[in-house]
Amino acid sequence: MLSNDARLYQILFLSLFLGVGIVARDWSLQPVMIGALIATCCCVQWSAAIQISAPFIQSLPSALVTSLGLSLLLRADHVVTLMLAGTLAILSKFCLRVQDKHIFNPGNFGIVAVLTFTQDAWVSPGQWGEEGWYVLLFLSAGGLVLGRIGRWDTSIAFLASYAGLEAARNFWLGWTWDVWTHRMMSGSLLVFALFMITDPRTVPNARIARIIWAGAIALLTFYLRNFWFISTAPFWALFSLAPLTILLDRVFLGDRFIWHKSWHKSSSELVKTDVANELLSVS
């Protein structure tokens, strides 16, 4: 049933974050841009669904999750840039696939694409600040969604690996520990760890593979941030290592995730995939 779909919780929480960001975080987001992004994602999803003769309604939540995620993370001067990001994000689900699985996280793909190919987009890693209240909000909301999806391991593996690496660096450099805490309390890092990296349609199927994969992303994030001085390191790390999923799925066998069955099926059950549905279910 659609009402049991974990994506509805994602939509609810992403909308909540967007509202909090606009009201309490001084984001200069224009409603028309958010509206255009949502409309674009839905239209592209609808067009693509028609092309493969698949039902649109079941895939609508995925388009909404992608558009809300992009609204949260991506900024641009012109609405066309955001629409381009939305279009590429949705198309990546249909065009870049291996064994009926998306190679890239759609939102991540859209962000990286417009950062690379346009001179108009940017990401603001400091937009959430480092307040404890937001940390709790993100952890609670992320926990609810991930509890339904059964992909907590990915977030934990990423955050634990990244925290460990940063702690080791902090210790070696001799910084006081509030530097480490400040880095780990970043709202943007938590949103990434809880809502982007965990997309069940792009993570490896087996738990051990997910842990290896998340650890590798944490390592690359750490490297890019501290040695290449890239503030948007998590997005580049996820983009670079997303294709590793294909390899890991071949090495480690595991069950494949299907959104609309996530409520009824435990993650350990092997689910027979319905290709038509799976083509659409993406976040």
């Binding site: 975080r25 001084d26 641009a76 603001s124 880095r183 001085f229």
Partner: protein, 441 residues
């Protein structure tokens, strides 16, 4: 390659600073004086012009102590040679300050009875270690300190050091007449381990006396590095109170922002009572203190962000291409169109709320913003129509709104504000009175 280029563009330049004198005085702790008001007790001004990885950093210096006591230690990402260091004109930073400072604007209400409504607006200008002369120091292998280069530029003697450990660097500095504030040694270590170099400058008294300048001029350094960072930790070693830092970032792209703290716009476009004109400095100080507390004391504020090609309204003449080049915008040439986006960031930092150095990024955000506060002069002439009557009636409500806005922005007592509001006097003459006047004179 495209990916790599994008990655590099988003990289940063690191720079950090430390003052080593007997006083608890640090770079990023300079006093800034502006126009007719010295707004902040402890403030530093830094201009960073950056295009790709190429950076020109100007450290403004309004040092008030004995010139012979002046000394700074600024960690830099690369070894600087003599041709990468120069002395800048103090006026350039003053120009940047005046051009980007929060401003008051005035509007005059028109005659509500006039058929053609004309607005007149005019702009009111914004009130808007003792380091002894170091003996020539050779690299000291035992201390792990290497003198990478050594030269004199303008009134400054400059040494570029690299170090292997903080104890050795501390010893070297002490041996050469610098006194390190207590607690600085532990903070030097992280920078040494990140392989940063140390830019050490003190005043060459002979050169200073022959130069004829009354104050120390800004030091400008040029280098290429992916690090885009400004140090504040060392400046807080002995700081007892919050310090103000104003950073002017000149970019060919768009707005700059801080990536490891929130970047927030200061409240703007607020209509305030007329008497604020006489106390604009106090007003802005209170406003900033209020918003600083409200935002949790750990954010960077944008006070100005605008393409240098224009301004509306201008609080000062825009910088000329020549002045922009002096400010470090090396990509500006007389032949090419002026392409400089200026961001003015104001950070008030304390040790407990800002544990990490500031990291910046340039964005493609071309949105214009300015801290702007509006004075609205009511129409004081006689009104002879019903619209005039409505206007007169509305004045008390407008004044009250302005008072509440001012109280909200500054935290001032609403009652005290109300006492300073102008008294509303009706200039409306009813029709029957006009008739009587016409008949009987």
């Amino acid at each position: 390659m495209k990916l790599f280029r994008i990655l590099l563009i988003t990289c940063f330049v690191s720079l950090m600073s430390l003052l080593i004198t007997t006083k608890a005085w640090a770079f990023c702790g300079f006093y800034v004086a502006k126009a007719d008001a010295k707004l902040y007790n402890q403030a530093s001004q830094v201009a960073i012009a950056r295009n790709g990885n190429r950076t020109v950093l100007t450290m403004a210096n309004d040092y008030q102590g004995e010139v012979k006591d002046f000394a700074i230690v600024v960690p830099v990402p690369v070894v600087l040679q003599e041709n990468q260091v120069q002395i800048s004109d103090s006026k350039i930073v003053e120009r940047l300050d005046a051009f980007s400072a929060p401003r008051l604007v005035e509007y005059f209400d028109p005659d509500p009875c006039a058929q053609i409504w004309q607005t007149e607006d005019s702009l009111r200008a914004p009130s808007a270690a003792s380091a002894q002369r170091a003996a020539p120091q050779q690299s000291n292998g035992a201390l792990g300190v290497t003198v990478e280069s050594q030269f004199t530029v303008g009134e400054y003697d400059i040494v570029i050091l690299s170090a292997r450990e903080s104890g050795g660097l501390e010893t070297w500095l002490t041996q050469n007449g610098y006194r390190i504030p207590q607690g600085a040694r532990q903070l030097l270590q992280p920078y040494i381990r990140q392989r940063l170099k140390f830019f050490v400058a003190k005043v060459n008294l002979e050169e200073y006396e022959t130069s004829g300048y009354q104050s120390l001029r800004p030091i400008q350094i040029r280098y290429e590095s992916p690090r885009f960072m400004l140090p504040i930790r060392l400046g807080m070693v002995n700081a007892q109170s919050a310090q103000d830092l104003i950073v002017y970032i000149l970019s060919p792209q768009g707005q700059a922002e801080v990536t490891n703290y929130r970047t927030v716009k200061v409240p703007s476009d607020a209509e305030v009572p007329l008497y604020v004109k006489e106390e604009f400095s106090d007003f802005y100080k209170s406003l900033f203190a209020t918003v600083y507390s409200r935002e949790g004391k750990n954010v960077a504020f944008v006070e100005y962000a605008w393409d240098m090609a224009g301004c509306d309204p201008c609080s000062a003449e825009p910088l000329t291409p020549d002045e922009l080049r002096q400010a470090g915008a090396f990509w500006v040439t007389p032949e090419t169109p002026q392409n400089v986006f200026l961001t003015r960031l104001h950070v008030r930092y304390t040790r407990d709320r800002f544990p990490e150095d500031l990291v910046f990024q340039q964005t493609n955000n071309r949105e214009s913003f300015q801290g702007r506060y509006i004075l609205r002069h009511p129409f004081t002439g006689e009104s002879t129509c019903s619209a005039g009557e409505d206007y007169q009636r509305s004045l008390s409500r407008i004044f009250e709104q302005q008072a509440q806005t001012l109280a909200r922005l500054t935290g001032w007592q609403i009652q005290e504000i109300r006492e300073k509001l102008p008294q509303v006097q009706s200039h409306f003459i009813p029709w029957w009175r006009r008739l009587v006047q016409a008949l009987f004179g």
